[in-house]
């Protein structure tokens, strides 16, 4: 599962319409679909896209900047101050790309576990910022968060398999 040297790692890049269009589409769907499908709010498509681009590019700097941009875009649609999602996704983008350098994240099993862990980490950071920096009362329900984590991980396996088609080898 783990690599022995950096030479074994496949690093991918994406055409710019994909690099820009997919995150935008994810944010759009995240805002639009809850109007149609009530339970869609438990998914975090922008987070899944952040993780995917992070592990595929395997460049921590690109990963954190991608996460930051997607997070700030997501923040813009809320009424909360800008930066809450931004900070959380910056962390995740950085961690995902750093992890991509070290272990194989191409198979569905590792993707499932990885997405679940990143989702929980993202939620923890998000709630910490809301509580610690913004002083808001936040309701954390373990059952709900774990369930959402599993749902996101399952969706991620399908989504990542679809997005793999847009990968280009460097």
């Amino acid at each position: 599962m783990s690599y022995t040297s950096r030479e074994q790692i496949e690093v991918y890049r994406f055409a710019w319409p994909v690099a820009i269009g997919v995150p935008l589409l994810a944010v759009f769907l995240q805002a639009f679909l809850p109007v149609q499908i009530r339970f869609f709010n438990i998914l975090d498509l922008p987070l899944l896209v952040t993780i995917f681009f992070g592990v595929a590019r395997r460049n921590p700097m690109t990963g954190l900047l991608t996460g930051s941009a997607i997070g700030l875009l997501q923040d813009s649609l809320t009424h909360n101050p800008l930066g809450v999602y931004g900070i959380a996704k910056t962390f995740v983008g950085f961690a995902a790309s750093s992890l991509g350098v070290k272990i194989d994240v191409e198979n569905p099993g590792s993707r499932l576990i990885m997405t679940f862990i990143f989702f929980m980490a993202h939620q923890s950071i998000y709630f910490s910022i809301q509580r610690g920096l913004l002083g808001q009362v936040v309701a954390w329900h373990w059952g709900q968060e774990l369930g959402a984590g599993v749902a996101n991980a399952l969706v991620a396996v399908v989504l990542f398999a679809f997005l793999d088609r847009f990968k280009q080898r460097t």
């Binding site: 805002a31 639009f32 109007v35 909360n80 920096l133």
Partner: protein, 411 residues
């Protein structure tokens, strides 16, 4: 130096980006946006909302085409049902008209000012924030259509929220379930006033109701009008759960009447007018007892003989008082809220001639000295209606929090 930077470039960039965002957060919290929305918000909304509109309009076009031309199976049956419903509504309207006319006359007598919903704009819900922690929706009407921040947003069922930010052709609406929202609210039966706040879990809670007050499950909650955003008398929700809270207050959980999870169309109240109620000439020596006496023939109770020594209007007044007592046996929901078509209210005190002077009311619980009536809001276009009147006196002191005021940490 270069080596150090290269070796730790990732960590340095990560720290810089995080620090910049934290500083940005601190600035926003410290100094909420006073010069309009940030540019990045405007760009994001300008990018996302046109797509949402396109999808919604396309979806509606397809749905309407299907319903208007192909899906006509049960139309005849439905038409018949609607006709019967209309007949019932007409009968109800006649009765309500009488009540409303009486209320107008009394209001005119007491020189109350009424709030009229003079104009509304129908809007389509096109999107959400996409976050459980930010309960906002986007609608397809903005400043170009006369929508501005702090305007009330409702559905025919009840209150939805208020406009938080307005852009050219889009607006952001803060739902009443968001924890930063607040609405001035009144319990319909007891007229107790409090603040309806959203909770972190997406529910709503009526705050600042003293623990020694009686609140029953299922009690309806209306807007109190005290927040200067929502007109008085709009239905908000019903009491779902009551339990002892902290600091001598009750913990009253409220279920919103409007289904906020399935919103499609909403109405934005763009204009509220305040004016003296129209009615008969009140400059003359018209008294409440005279007005109430007008209803005597319609009351199916044997007219009482005026007590010895009491004649004329005084006698009428005393008779009427007795009849009002008879009216008091009616359930409290004897009136009707035209907004919902459901019975609304009619507390005994409202029917009593004793309301000739609101300050004289001994009941400190009621706070409101006159009937709250419903409003009539059509789905589209403008609307006029009477209904909502400002309380002249509130015997109960207002809670310390300003209702209707959003308190986001910063934007």
């Amino acid at each position: 130096m270069d080596n150090i930077y290269k070796r730790h470039a990732n960590i340095i960039v990560l720290s810089s980006v995080l620090l910049a965002q934290m500083l940005g957060l601190a600035i926003q919290v410290r100094r909420p946006a006073d010069g309009g929305p940030l540019l990045i918000r405007t760009w994001a909304i300008a990018t996302i909302t046109p797509l949402e509109k396109a999808f919604i309009y396309t979806q509606h076009f397809v749905q309407n085409t299907w319903h208007d031309y192909f899906y006509l199976r049960d139309v005849r049956k439905e038409n018949q049902q609607l006709r019967e419903e209309l007949e019932r509504a007409r009968l109800e309207q006649v009765r309500l008209h009488e009540d409303a006319a009486q209320a107008h006359r009394l209001q005119a007598l007491l020189q109350f000012k009424e709030q009229y919903i003079a104009k509304t704009v129908a809007a389509q819900v096109i999107g959400t924030s996409g976050s459980e922690q930010s309960r906002v929706i986007y609608i397809d009407r903005g400043t170009d259509h006369g929508v501005h921040p702090n305007m009330a947003v409702i559905t025919p069922e009840g209150v939805v929220g208020k406009v938080l930010r307005a852009y050219g052709s889009t607006s952001q609406v803060l739902e009443i379930t968001d924890q930063t929202s607040g609405v001035g609210a009144t319990l319909e039966k007891t007229r107790l006033q409090g603040i309806l706040k959203g909770t972190p879990t997406g529910g709503t809670q009526l705050q600042y109701i003293m623990s020694d007050e009686k609140v029953e499950l299922g009690d309806r909650i209306l807007t109190s009008g005290g927040d200067s955003i929502f007109p008085k008398g709009l239905p908000i929700g019903t009491v779902q759960q009551v339990s002892p809270g902290k600091d001598l207050f009750l913990n009253v959980q409220v279920k919103p009447i409007a289904d906020l999870a399935r919103l499609e169309e909403v109405l934005v109240i763009t204009q509220i007018e305040e004016r003296e109620p129209s009615g008969p000439d009140v400059s003359g020596p018209l008294r409440a007892s005279d007005i109430l006496a007008e209803r005597l023939p319609s009351v199916p109770v044997k007219p009482e003989t005026p007590a010895p020594g009491m004649g004329g209007a005084a006698g009428a007044a005393s008779t009427n008082t007795a009849l009002s007592s008879a009216h008091q046996t009616k359930p409290a929901s004897a009136g009707t809220n035209a907004l919902q078509g459901a019975p609304v209210q009619g507390t005994p005190a409202q029917k009593s001639p004793a309301i000739t002077k609101p300050a004289d009311r001994p009941d400190t619980k009621t706070g409101v000295a006159k009937p709250a009536t419903g409003i009539s809001v059509p789905k589209t276009g403008t609307t006029t209606g009477t209904t909502i009147t400002k309380p002249a006196t509130n015997a109960k002191p207002k809670p310390p929090v300003k209702a209707g005021e959003t308190t986001p940490p910063g934007h």
